[in-house]
């Protein structure tokens, strides 16, 4: 840092549940110029809450209490209209920390996929999570990432759901079939696998869990060969905090809630 340069450090307070689910202390410690823990009893610039059912009401309360920024860890599908309205009214930055959709590789994956989506032949994607994971929550996380990468899905329908996972069917804009499968098993590390095939190649994406800075992989295959996009050794948690900082500094409103409203609508229609 250059001497004399101006910077803003935002103070942070997290609920215990959010602290654990979002590895908040680690993320904040990795951005020490931008964030720091709020001292006991002091007002915090940024509030962090867990996204369990009822989180939107808690978020509205935090905004009313003066939070400038809000991080929601693993938000469960819920109507966000009131929250979006409160956030706009108070100019509060609300970012969602989603296990896969917040991965920093998503942007590159989105560009790669959308440039090929018109030629898509099939999209096959599998989300794996440990035994005990609620398959509804897994599907919400899965769908959030897939829609983020591939865009809206049409004819979304749940074919099968149980203790061991789910099968969901949909189509892309060009009519190509989409299959989303959830597998609940301790056999492999939780991850999301996304494969779009075109007539002569495709895009393959693997997104890891945010518990470590394992890099996602985005591979583009075409007639000329295969290209691995640069790997990013940053977890979804940390990427979320970086985004928050950018919006706070710039005074802009992220599109997280807008996207989440569409996701919630899709999930609600499914179940």
């Amino acid at each position: 840092m250059n001497a004399g340069a101006e910077f803003t450090q935002y103070t942070v307070r997290a609920t215990p549940e959010a602290q654990e689910a979002g590895a908040v202390a680690l993320a904040v410690a990795s951005l020490p110029e931008s964030f720091g823990p709020a001292a006991d009893g002091n007002h915090a610039d940024v509030q962090v809450i867990a996204g369990r059912p009822g989180w939107t009401a808690q978020a509205v309360e935090a905004i009313a209490a003066g939070a400038r920024g809000l991080v929601v860890v693993n938000p469960s599908p819920e109507n966000v209209d009131s929250l979006a309205e409160a956030a706009a009214r108070h100019n509060t930055v609300v970012v969602l920390d989603q296990r896969w959709a917040s991965n920093p590789a998503i942007n590159g994956a989105e560009d790669a996929v959308r440039s090929q989506a018109g030629r898509a032949a099939v999209l096959d994607t599998v989300a794996t999570a440990p035994v005990g994971t609620d398959s509804g929550g897994l599907l919400a996380d899965h769908l959030a990432a897939v829609v983020r990468i591939a865009g809206p899905l049409a004819n979304l329908r749940l074919l099968n759901r149980g203790l061991h996972g789910y099968i969901t069917t949909a189509v892309l804009a060009n009519g190509a079939p989409v299959a989303l499968q959830g597998v609940v098993s301790n056999a492999r590390p939780a991850a999301l696998d996304f494969r779009l095939l075109t007539d002569d190649g495709g895009v393959s994406v693997t997104l890891p869990e945010p518990v470590a800075a394992w890099p996602a992989t985005v591979t583009v295959t075409g007639p000329q060969g295969e290209l691995l996009l640069p790997t990013i050794y940053e977890s979804a948690h940390r990427a979320t905090w970086r985004r928050l900082k950018e919006h706070l500094d710039a005074g802009t409103i992220p599109s997280d809630l807008h996207r989440f409203a569409a996701l919630t609508e899709s999930i609600t229609a499914l179940t």
């Binding site: 032949a121 099939v122 096959d124 599998v126 035994v131 074919l159 099968n160 149980g162 061991h164 996972g165 099968i167 069917t169 190509a176 079939p177 299959a179 499968q181 597998v183 609940v184 098993s185 301790n186 056999a187 492999r188 590390p189 095939l197 075109t198 007539d199 002569d200 190649g201 495709g202 295959t221 007639p223 295969e226």
Partner: protein
């Protein structure tokens, strides 16, 4: 190929004679290259094809006799093992004829019959004549699959999720790596707006492509007789997305044949605490065996690759059967594999028909 006589320490057994019915690309690009690697135990004696020029040309490559009639091949005493590589609809009749001709073993390309009745007839003839039959489900002979079998503990009983995923370039890409093919079947441009075309493509996808791995899937599906198709969809230009379930299993079948250069052929099974993934090498090329990987949490155990693929494994098995050093698979296994495939193919077509009927109703 030079054949300078050597002076062996001990006399080697005479290679077992092979006759092949049908000399299309599979024979040219898969079986002959596999047999070329097994010259000490097997030798091609007779090639039959309905096209005399093809029969002659392919036979000349291996110094074998040639003909255009099944009777000529089956009547050739040099032929001890018969491989049936003709179009599907001839398989049952030709398997039965080969058994009746008193051959030592029969290899029939999949599917070995078009319905359960034919399969039962074949089984009865095989029992009556004592001629062992194996079906060319090459992955079941792949050393990678066999290594998995030796190490999978109770996974076939405890698995709850099974996936088969196949992404293949056009066959010609790999045929050309394997040999110099003469006469390829002509391909047309299907009308994908015609529901009958879609139904035909999906049935063909199950009986011609998925069938390679359905015996593997069945091995992990004890309640395979209660299979149900949840949804079947066509993938252009050729492929499928088929979701299935039994009372205890979720099964996903994926396939896409397109113009990619990058093949992928995998089988996966998951239980609560273990997963098996097998990556097979593409057909046609002699690229060694599949690799099987067991994952249990953070521990992964890998088996393979080994130096030969399932096609060569099939021929090794046939040689052992013909020599009487190995027992054939049970007829019930072959019948169950076939009826499992037929059930899925029928239910797939029925699923498409019912969706189409609903769509028609909606437009009425």
């Amino acid at each position: 190929m030079s054949s300078q006589p050597k002076a062996p320490q001990q006399a080697l057994p005479t290679p077992i004679g092979v006759g092949i019915l049908g000399a299309g690309p599979v024979t040219q690009a898969i079986h002959l290259p596999s047999l070329a690697r097994l010259g000490e135990i097997l030798t091609v004696r007779h090639i039959m094809d309905v096209d005399p020029a093809v029969a002659e040309s392919v036979a000349a490559r291996v110094g074998a006799a040639h003909s255009t009639s099944i009777d000529a091949l089956l009547g050739d005493p040099a032929v001890e093992i018969v491989a049936i590589c003709s179009p599907h609809q001839f398989h049952a009749e030709q398997v039965i004829a080969a058994c009746r001709a008193g051959k030592k073993a029969v290899l029939c390309e999949k599917p070995f019959a078009m319905n359960a009745e034919e399969a039962a007839q074949i089984s009865a003839v095989s029992q009556e004549t004592g001629v062992p039959i194996i079906v060319g489900a090459m992955h079941t002979f792949d050393p990678g699959w066999l290594a998995a079998q030796e190490n999978w503990d109770d996974l076939p009983e405890t698995a709850h999720t099974i996936r088969s995923s196949i992404v293949l370039p056009p066959n010609a890409r790999f045929e050309d790596f394997a040999t110099e093919v003469i006469t390829r079947p002509a391909s047309g441009t299907p009308d994908y707006t015609d529901p009958e075309v879609i139904k035909g493509a999906l049935r063909g996808g199950v009986m011609g492509l998925a069938i390679h791995d359905l015996p593997l899937i069945r091995r992990f599906t004890p309640d395979f007789k209660d299979i149900e198709v949840l949804e079947a969809r066509h993938v252009r230009p050729f492929g499928y997305v088929i979701s299935l379930r039994t009372p205890t299993r979720t099964i996903e079948l994926r396939a896409a044949m397109n113009n990619t250069w990058k093949p992928e052929w995998s089988f996966e099974a998951f239980s609560d605490d273990a997963a098996l993934r097998i990556d097979f090498t593409p057909s046609y090329v002699q690229a060694g065996s599949a690799v099987a990987a067991f994952t249990r949490g953070s521990q992964t155990t890998v088996h393979g690759p080994f130096d030969h693929n399932g096609y060569e494994g099939e021929w090794r098995e046939l040689a052992a059967l013909a020599a009487g050093t190995k027992q054939p698979p049970s007829a019930q296994t072959l019948i169950d594999d076939l009826t499992f495939a037929l059930d899925i193919a029928d239910a797939t077509v029925a699923n498409v028909e019912s969706r189409h009927a609903v769509a028609e109703g909606a437009h009425a």
